[in-house]
Symmetry: none
Subunit: 192 residues, 4 copies
DNA sequence: TATGAATGAGCGTTCATTCAT
DNA sequence: TATGAATGAACGCTCATTCAT
């Protein structure tokens, strides 16, 4: 099937770029290498993407949306919010700790000027589920009364710092370390 | 004077590289442009640094050590730890919010494979003051009993996420927002 | 046709490099000039050769093997060895005297550290025909009983010195000069 | 003393350049490295030599004249010419076999376009002693009646080929090999 | 005379992109 | 659609040479 073939190639290109950038960074990930790893010709990439920048941006949106989907996948709105937050916090750690290529890529991209190439509204749309998740808890007075944007930043910031610590290899977090980290975060943001 | 001239050129090169990378990223900061902005010949850079990579790494160590020094500059050990923490937390925000080039550069560097080019012991030495600042508070039971490494990650992670939020332009934090953020962090990490 | 185009470009690059090096030496034969003379883009050279050094070495092996083939092309094993030797000796002179680019290039290469970049076994294989040509004559007691390696050196050394003399322009060898040179060499190496 | 100091520096520069070129070739012997090895500042070289090319040419003339002087140093005109020739031939081999830097440098220089930078008359003057040595023997009918220029070429060519063979490491010549080589050469050139 | 920091043209090489097939 | 040879601008870097000290 044509569609599947297309899908496969595009997917292979994405996968190759992800692998290369996560490992070597933007400036050591030439298109020729992407082509080689994706088993396509260099020119083929340009049938799917206008330019290297566009490919990288598309990859970012794809990975970002995939991961965000993952993070709330097991959310159960019928549970107590504290439990839902714990589930979310640990899920985040586990997901990126196991999908390191995705983590390294997202970190690099969002810390670099590349981030300015994607529209802010598109970015906000991607973070909307997490944002909403926290915002509702603010409105229902489960969480402190601070701007949901700030709250989202604080939670995600500390959470990804935790992933970075684990991946650095300097410190291996035990399950009980994780519980401590989660409760530290929770005690900070909960309605006092 | 020789020493001053050297200092000036090396400093000018550092400054030019910092400006370029913070604005355009590693791969859009050619040495030729660095030379131009630093008002030196291209070859001159190579009297001070063996390679582009070495220059970038040296710049990282310089900026990182300068900023870390700033963060605890006004620390007053005679005060209550909570106040000292507040001072540190706000100082961090203010410093990077005003020195955006430094912030963008540090973020990019530490999120990229470049970070692997500097020795871990050297990195740890740079973070030692902050690490010690928090560690002592853990030992004196002012803070929760969790690993100082984890605590450092959580605090710095949430703090730099806050800076990122401010610099993104999406949300301008008021002084009272900052107070909320600080107290959120504090309530999380303090001994319960 | 692909094959012919490849052949043409590679050949053109070889030809351009040969011309430049024979005329200006290694260090005054920039790749940009090679590209220009070969009517290809600079980058194209790197589809065919990994580096300048590799191109130069490949060129040496090509020229060396081509010339060695020439030298014994008209050898007629049914003739008396003395006649065969004369034919070989004069052929050598004539070939290099007419193909001066090849001569200058081979001389420069084999006198320079470049020679260490090609494997000795590969080099020996190229000289094998000439070596065998003389070795057999030693074994059949037509030539003096000295090591074929030494004999090969003596013969080729004096022969290429002759070419150098002619090409220097200081002295134009007549046919009878050549006969004298040949017989001088022959009288030295023949079984006394 | 000034003169001695000058002499020392110039000598040190010569020595450094000789060492570098013999080992790495012209294009891997930067002036900065010459300066370092000679223990002088880069600029100092330009007090003694106008340019790199001039330094290299001066070095050639110096080495060439030194070695040529060596080659006939022990010549004893009262002996039989055959013995004098043998002495010369072996001396040549021994000298270059022991002074390999000089040999490699001379070979590289005289095979490269550099040779065109020195005046032919100057070159001829340097080779005059050897030329005369053989010419007289031609005139006195000890040697074949062929042009002394050709004779010089043949002898020196085969002789330096022998040195090359030895230095290549492929074949270690014994004293008896040397005798064979000498007599081969002699039997070729002597009056038949 | 001696220094060595500074220069900048020019080098070898890379790589995003194109286009004839 | 897919290819990959070809392009050439631009890169990081070198190095012969200069000149203020």
């Amino acid at each position: 099937m044509r569609v599947n073939k297309d899908f496969d190639k595009k997917e292979a290109i994405f996968e190759a770029m992800l692998e290369l950038i996560s490992k070597h960074g933007f400036h050591s990930s030439p298109m020729s290498e992407v082509a080689k790893q994706a088993n396509v010709a260099a020119g083929t990439i340009y049938h799917y993407f206008k330019s290297k920048d566009e490919l990288i941006c598309a990859l970012y949106l794809k990975i970002k949306s995939q991961s965000n989907e993952m993070l709330l996948k097991n959310d159960d709105p019928s549970k107590a919010f504290k439990d839902r937050f714990r589930q979310f916090y640990l899920q985040n750690f586990n997901y990126f700790t196991k999908n390191t290529k995705e983590f390294y890529f997202l970190e690099q991209f969002s810390s670099s000027p590349y981030i300015n190439l994607v529209s802010k509204t598109e970015l906000q749309a991607l973070d909307q589920p997490i944002y909403d998740f926290l915002r509702k808890a603010v409105f229902t007075q489960v969480l402190r009364d601070i701007s949901p944007k700030i709250m989202t930043s604080l939670v995600l910031g500390s959470s990804s710092a935790l992933v970075k610590l684990q991946l650095s290899g300097d410190f291996l977090l035990t399950p009980s370390d994780l519980e401590s980290a989660y409760i530290t975060c929770w005690d900070g943001i909960k309605k006092q």
